[in-house]
C-alpha cells in the first residue's frame, strides 16, 4: 500500500492540533506578564516605524543632508514634536530613521553572532576532550578578551569608519559569548542517558547537535538574544559617540547624540529625541527578554 492510510492522516491531524495547543500555551505564559506585552508592543511599533520611515516621518528629506538655516534651533512644537537641529532638520523625523539603523545594527550583529556562536559552542561541547574543543575554546577566549572600542578603532583606522565596520567589530568580540553559553550547556547535557540512547541507536551527529541538544538550549539562547539586542544598541551608540561608527549626516541614534550633545544644555531637545530613542529600544528588549524567559521557564 503506497498512499497514506486514513489512520496516518488522523495522526497527522492530531499532531497539528497538539502543536497548535502548545503554541497557545506558550502565548498564555507570555501574556501573563504585562510588562513583556508592553516590551513586545513597543518593539513592534518601532519596527513598523523603521520599515515605513519614509511614510511616517513628517519630513523624510531631513534624514540625511539637508540645510534650512531659517528653521534651525526651533524648540519642540506641534510642527516639530522634538524640535529642529542646527541645520533646521526635524529631529523627530531623524529619530524615526534612527530606528531603522538601530534595527539594522541589531539584525546584522545577531545574524552574524548567534548562529556562529551557537554552532561552535555545540560542536566544542559535543567534542569535549578533543582538539576541536581546545581550538574553539581558545579562539573564543582570544576574541572575548579584545575590547570592542579598541577593535573598532583599529578597524576604523584600516578601513573607513562607518556603521557597517563598527558592527563587524562588535560582532568579532560578541560571538564567543554564545560559544560559552552553548558550550557549557552542551557539556552538561552531553552524557545524559537520552543523548546516549539516541547515539546508541545510530543517530547522526547532526541529529544529536540540532535535534537533541539545541532544542533544550533554545529558551536560554533566545532570552540572551533579546537581552543582547539592547546591548548592541548601547555599544553601537558608544562607538558612534566617539566617532568610530556611523558618520554624520547618517541618522544613527548614537551619532545624533554625539553631534547634538555639543549643543547642550541650551538646545536640549536635539539630544533628547535620539537619547530617548536609545533608552526606549533597550527598555523594550529587556522587557521582552523577561517574557521569553518566563515562557521557557514554565515548561
Amino acid at each position: 500500500m503506497k498512499e497514506t492510510s486514513t489512520n496516518e492522516v488522523r495522526f497527522l491531524e492530531l499532531e497539528k492540533k497538539v502543536k497548535r495547543e502548545n503554541w497557545r500555551r506558550m502565548w498564555f505564559r507570555f501574556r501573563k506578564s504585562k510588562l513583556s506585552i508592553v516590551g513586545l508592543s513597543i518593539i513592534l511599533i518601532l519596527l513598523l516605524m523603521a520599515i515605513f520611515a519614509e511614510y511616517i516621518a513628517p519630513y523624510p528629506s531631513h534624514a540625511g543632508l539637508y540645510i534650512a538655516f531659517k528653521n534651525a534651533y526651533k524648540p519642540p512644537s506641534l510642527e516639530h514634536f522634538l524640535g529642529t537641529d542646527m541645520y533646521g532638520r526635524d529631529v523627530f523625523s531623524r529619530v524615526i530613521f534612527g530606528f531603522r539603523y538601530a534595527f539594522m545594527m541589531i539584525g546584522l550583529v545577531l545574524l552574524l553572532v548567534v548562529p556562529t556562536g551557537v554552532v561552535l559552542g555545540l560542536i566544542a561541547g559535543y567534542y569535549r576532550g578533543t582538539f576541536i574543543e581546545t581550538l574553539i575554546v581558545r579562539l573564543s577566549d582570544i576574541f572575548i578578551s579584545l575590547p570592542p572600542l579598541v577593535l573598532a578603532l583599529s578597524i576604523a583606522s584600516i578601513l573607513e569608519p562607518n556603521i557597517f565596520n563598527a558592527m563587524m567589530a562588535v560582532s568579532l568580540m560578541w560571538w564567543p559569548w554564545y560559544v560559552k553559553l552553548t558550550y557549557s550547556m552542551t557539556v552538561s547535557l552531553r552524557n545524559e542517558p537520552f543523548i546516549l540512547a539516541a547515539e546508541s541507536q545510530g543517530a547522526s551527529t547532526l541529529h544529536i547537535l540540532f535535534r537533541e541538544l539545541l532544542p533544550i538550549q533554545l529558551g536560554t539562547i533566545l532570552t540572551k538574544v533579546t537581552l543582547d539586542a539592547g546591548w548592541v544598541i548601547l555599544i553601537g551608540a558608544a562607538i558612534s559617540f566617539v566617532g568610530l561608527g556611523a558618520q554624520p549626516p547618517t541618522p544613527d541614534l548614537g551619532t545624533m547624540v554625539s553631534e547634538y550633545s555639543k549643543y547642550l544644555p541650551e538646545y536640549w531637545w536635539m539630544s533628547l529625541g535620539p537619547a530617548a530613542g536609545i533608552v526606549l529600544i533597550i527598555l523594550a528588549f529587556n522587557l521582552l527578554g523577561d517574557g521569553i524567559r518566563d515562557v521557557f521557564a514554565g515548561e
Partner: protein, 320 residues
C-alpha cells in the same frame, strides 16, 4: 564458543582515572549470555554493574578483555565505529526515567527516531507503527503527542522500552529499569518486560540490586562485588542453595513473604559493614573484610573459579 551463546565476555576490565585514584569498576569478569534468556547481574550499588552494561553498549571502550556478540561482532569497538546493524540489535533501557527521554521531544519523535534510522517501516506508516509500539507496552496512542514531563515515572520507562523495541533488537540491557519506580508501576513495567520477552524471544541482561525482581523474571543470576563476579547459578539453585558467603549475606537481608521462604533462608550470616572503595579494593578475595568465614589465604590470593556442577560456579576458598 557454544552455539547458544549470544554474548561472550572474557576477562573484561574497565578502570576510571579519578582524582582519588584509579577506580577498578570492572576488574576481570567473564560470562556468557545465552539466546533468549534473562541473565541477572546483581550487586550492591558501586559494584560495577552499570559500567559492565555501558562497556557492552560501547559508551566507553574496555581496558582489557574480549566481548564477542553473536559469534562475529567485536564489541570492544566504541559505539561510533560499530556497524549500523549492531546499533539496531543491541538496546538499553536506563535506570532514571527522569533523564532517559529528551524533555523537548514528543514521545512520537522519540520512538520514531530508531524507526527512521533503521528504515523499519515505510515513512508513511511511522505514526501507525509508533501507536502499535505504544499499545504493545500498554500505553494508549494519545501518548504520542505528549512531552516527557506530562508522563509519570512508569509511563516514561514504558516509552523507553517502546523506543528500545522499535528497531526490533535481539538483546536488551535493562539497567535497574524499574528500581526508581513506585511498587505498582514497577509491577506493570516488569510484567510488560516479561510478556515482551516471551513474545519476541528477546535476550535480557537484567542489571538490578532487587532480588525480588531477579526471582520473578530471570533464569540465571550472577553476583557482582567490587568489580568481580563471585557466584553464577540458575535462579532456582541461587535461591535454594546459595554457596558464596556474600550471596548468603544478600539473601539473608531480604524480607521474605512466606514461611517456606523463611525456612530456606540462609541463617547465621548477618549483613555487616559497608562496601569498600573501588579505588583501593581489598586484596585477595574482595569480600574478606566482611566475610564471617574468612581464612588467612582469603586476603592473600584471589579465589579460583570452582564449578560445583555444570552451571553453578562460585569463587570462594571455602570450596577448594
Amino acid at each position: 564458543m557454544q552455539d547458544d551463546v549470544i554474548l561472550y565476555v572474557s576477562g573484561l576490565k574497565k578502570y576510571f582515572n579519578t582524582t582519588e585514584g584509579v577506580v577498578r569498576a570492572v576488574d576481570g569478569i567473564s560470562f556468557n549470555v545465552k539466546y533468549g534468556e534473562t541473565l541477572a547481574l546483581v550487586g550492591e550499588s558501586g559494584s560495577g554493574k552499570t559500567t559492565t552494561g555501558h562497556v557492552i553498549m560501547g559508551f566507553y571502550p574496555p581496558d582489557d578483555g574480549k566481548i564477542i556478540y553473536k559469534n562475529k561482532y567485536e564489541l570492544s569497538v566504541p559505539m561510533k565505529k560499530r556497524p549500523l546493524e549492531l546499533k539496531r540489535d543491541i538496546q538499553i533501557v536506563f535506570q532514571d526515567p527522569g533523564t532517559s527521554l529528551n524533555p523537548k521531544r514528543l514521545v512520537k519523535d522519540i520512538i520514531s527516531l530508531p524507526l527512521l534510522i533503521h528504515k523499519i517501516v515505510d515513512k508513511k506508516k511511522i505514526y501507525e507503527r509508533v501507536a502499535e509500539l505504544l499499545e504493545y507496552v500498554g500505553l494508549s496512542e494519545e501518548f504520542m503527542f505528549k512531552y516527557p514531563h506530562e508522563l509519570g515515572g512508569g509511563e516514561k520507562q514504558l516509552v523507553a522500552i517502546a523506543r528500545a523495541l522499535a528497531p526490533q533488537p535481539s538483546f536488551i540491557i535493562l539497567d535497574e529499569s524499574t528500581s526508581a519506580l513506585d511498587v505498582s508501576s514497577q509491577a506493570k513495567v516488569l510484567n510488560t518486560l516479561v510478556k515482551i520477552q516471551k513474545e519476541l524471544r528477546l535476550t535480557y541482561l537484567l542489571i538490578t540490586h532487587d532480588l525480588g525482581v531477579v526471582r520473578n523474571i530471570s533464569q540465571r543470576v550472577m553476583i557482582m562485588y567490587l568489580g568481580k563476579i563471585y557466584e553464577e547459578a540458575p535462579t532456582e539453585k541461587f535461591f535454594k542453595s546459595p554457596m558464596h558467603p556474600y550471596t548468603q549475606m544478600l539473601l539473608s537481608s531480604i524480607p521474605t513473604l512466606s514461611e517456606e521462604d523463611e525456612k530456606i533462608k540462609p541463617k547465621g550470616i548477618e549483613s555487616i559493614g559497608e562496601i569498600p572503595s573501588a579505588v583501593k579494593p581489598p586484596s585477595g578475595c574482595r569480600f574478606h573484610t566482611r566475610c564471617p568465614f574468612a581464612k588467612p589465604i582469603c586476603s592473600q590470593q584471589d579465589p579460583p573459579d570452582i564449578v560445583l556442577d555444570s552451571n553453578h560456579i562460585v569463587r570462594c576458598w571455602l570450596y577448594e
